[in-house]
Symmetry: none
Subunit: 234 residues, 4 copies
DNA sequence: CATGAATGAGAGTTCATTCAT
DNA sequence: TATGAATGAACTCTCATTCAT
């Protein structure tokens, strides 16, 4: 039935529209301070309508984050698939991070908002498993080229790919998080007193984060590259 | 006036007692889920009394975080002062992180809870400036030995000490954050389906984070060590 | 028009189906906790469709109760018509109550749910008059044999048949209500502390309610039986 | 400390004031339709204040009902203690019912509102046990003189006192319930059509419920009075 | 200094009902 | 006839904050 399908499709579109609205507000106001009221208003629906599409606030949130995770995985995969060789595939991890961060700075923040000291208890939610599964998938995509590089004898054979993955991931995340942080809450939000204004440290918010992410990646990989191997240089 | 001083001192003690209580609860329940009610109860004061010591919830929080920052700076300084030479002082940064994390895992989490997507708007707060000042001080302590190492010709002269500091800091923070995250919300909170249970990825929560933090530090420093210099090896 | 009639008949059937579904849920969940949502779902119609058949929730409820009242009247009539003589017809009132209660315990509860402190304001409803009419009919059926017994000189001539009817009705209702109450909320729902567990009172839920209803009926009738008359004994 | 006591006493008074307000509204609107909002407004407090005195709506309700139960027990005890001999003590049960009903018609309705098809799930409530205990106490007070009468040889020795108690209680309750029902929802609320207006049945709301309750009690007791015993007559 | 009492403002959630299709 | 979609109005409950004492 074409009519059935069309209705289904329209419903999906409305759902997506709500998710997008929710995402914007989650980003602007933070997880706890976002109200269903506001999401509804901005989505131009009544509060009750939200509950037709999502069981409760938590589900709306976790669906939102899952969407972002999927997007991130897509970017990671895309960069890897475009990379010519193993070397470039490893390097593409950092590049993918940067790309995702540049194209969707808000989404990046949302991903890193899953701070356990703050947020919802996702474990009480049905969508929780999917969220975890997506998270694992990110790790898998990140670690995949590293594993292959070890197998191919490019990296030291006693290297733990998971450890390298963790270092690449957390390093990149950390740098970009800091950048994002400074961009939003830095000199714009507070008027610093004279004495602190022009310190050397103020440069921190103008650092070249692209360079830093790539540098960090290189440093990590260099540290486990098999001695004697010179297939790729810094 | 001795009596004046004593009163002042007592007041300070009560303030500190409240802050300590608040810290415990902020840690256990998260920022948003901590209520003034509970802090008051646990501190054995009435809710109204809290407002005699702190203008509002935000101030209590920022004062709490400032305290933790001071503690962190002390650990950093202590490790640096105990380090024999420049090389060891740089390495001590990672060690200090690990030390602080191991001794005060909760405080570490609190420091990293200042995620702009989540929390209070510190900029609306009087204590904000002190918070920022403390933050800067951390950076200064972290960058100090790096600056000196560049001046001493150990590190490449075109190295930006701030960049290196950022990489060390964010890298270490990222690794420990992940560890803290996994320790608390990892396999314990959600029952994963069979298929995901025994994946290779499950090892992630048992990785040796000490090794990883130190490894990352080494890698970063190695990458900017002046060529030819072999004063310290990996 | 045969086609008209068939449509009418089908409509009636659908209405009845909905009423039956509603009845089941009203019984299981209680009046206030039954939602149109659930009735619709269980009846396999959409919520909006319910409103094609019933003006609102109240009407659906009152129609449901009217149906039960009719059933009850039928049972009363049936028992009376089967009774051989006046004596037995009076006794049949209690028996009919017991029969109805045993066969349709849920329906009994529904009838007695029309507690003014609790429920809907039936007076705002079009079906209200029919409901009242049905109620009256019950009274009439109950009182009819009593009136005749007075006319026939079996009962004291100064007896008010309505009073006797009220006593029979309310007495029986009360006993069965208590039984129904205890059966559902009695020892099963709450864990009583040791001290109350084995009291003599616990027997209350195992009392023989059949015996009690009949006993009460006998007692009431005996009290107004004309002195000297010994046509029927206890 | 006199000041402590005074505060405690004042608190108790406010609590009681709220309970009384709640009772009035529970009566007028029914259990489910009473809102905390309205109770607060009528009690001249804010909604939030109610929650300082009662954990939630259910607790407020069960505390209210417990209060009424205590009052009822007091009336029962009072009538029994004033009754000169066993015979009068048994009769006093019905009289106490009537007295309570006449003096506190609203409270009577509230007691009988604990209809399982309707109301809150008291079993989820801490006060539940006290409620049950109170209920049991009513039964004990009702049955006590009956037990003694059996022991004293006034009533047939094979009489089950619990059964007699049930019949007295449910009979009285039923009659008074009907009266209360008719008084509130009877001819006042609905405009009956001509045909039903002047039927013989209309007298039902003017029946002498005092006479009926006492008559029913007499009938029940007579039916188990030991044959030959003529200590008290009808 | 300390606090019991009170509350405004708002949170998430539910449900009977309506209406365009 | 049937329904998917939408919602207004209400609900219970919470919490940071204030103020009289």
């Amino acid at each position: 039935m074409g009519i059935q399908e069309r209705k289904q499709r329209e419903r999906e579109q409305r759902r997506t529209a709500i998710i997008n609205t929710a995402m914007r507000i989650f980003l602007k106001k933070g997880l706890a301070d976002t109200t269903m009221e506001e999401i509804a208003a901005k989505a131009e629906y009544s509060k009750a309508t939200l509950y037709l599409y999502f069981k409760n606030k938590e589900e709306l949130l976790s669906v939102t984050i899952i969407l972002v995770l999927k997007q991130f995985i897509a970017v990671l995969e895309e960069h890897q698939s475009r990379a010519g060789n193993l070397e470039k595939r490893i390097k593409s991890i950092g590049e993918a991070y940067l790309d995702f961060y540049d194209r969707f700075p808000g989404h990046f923040k949302l991903l890193n908002s899953m701070n356990p000291i703050e947020d919802f208890d996702f474990s009480k939610n049905e969508g929780c498993l999917e969220l975890i599964a997506m998270n694992r998938q990110v790790w898998e995509v990140v670690c995949r080229p590293i594993v292959e590089a070890i197998r191919s004898g490019i990296l030291e054979s006693d290297t733990d790919p998971l450890e390298i993955g963790v270092m690449l991931w957390t390093g990149s995340t950390g740098i970009l998080n800091l950048h994002s942080h400074l961009k939003h809450s830095g000199p714009h939000r507070v008027e610093l007193p004279e004495e602190h204004r022009n310190s050397e440290l103020s440069r921190i918010s103008q650092l070249d984060y692209h360079k830093m992410v790539l540098h960090l990646g290189d440093a990590v990989i260099s540290s486990v590259r098999k001695t004697g191997f010179r297939g790729w240089g810094r």
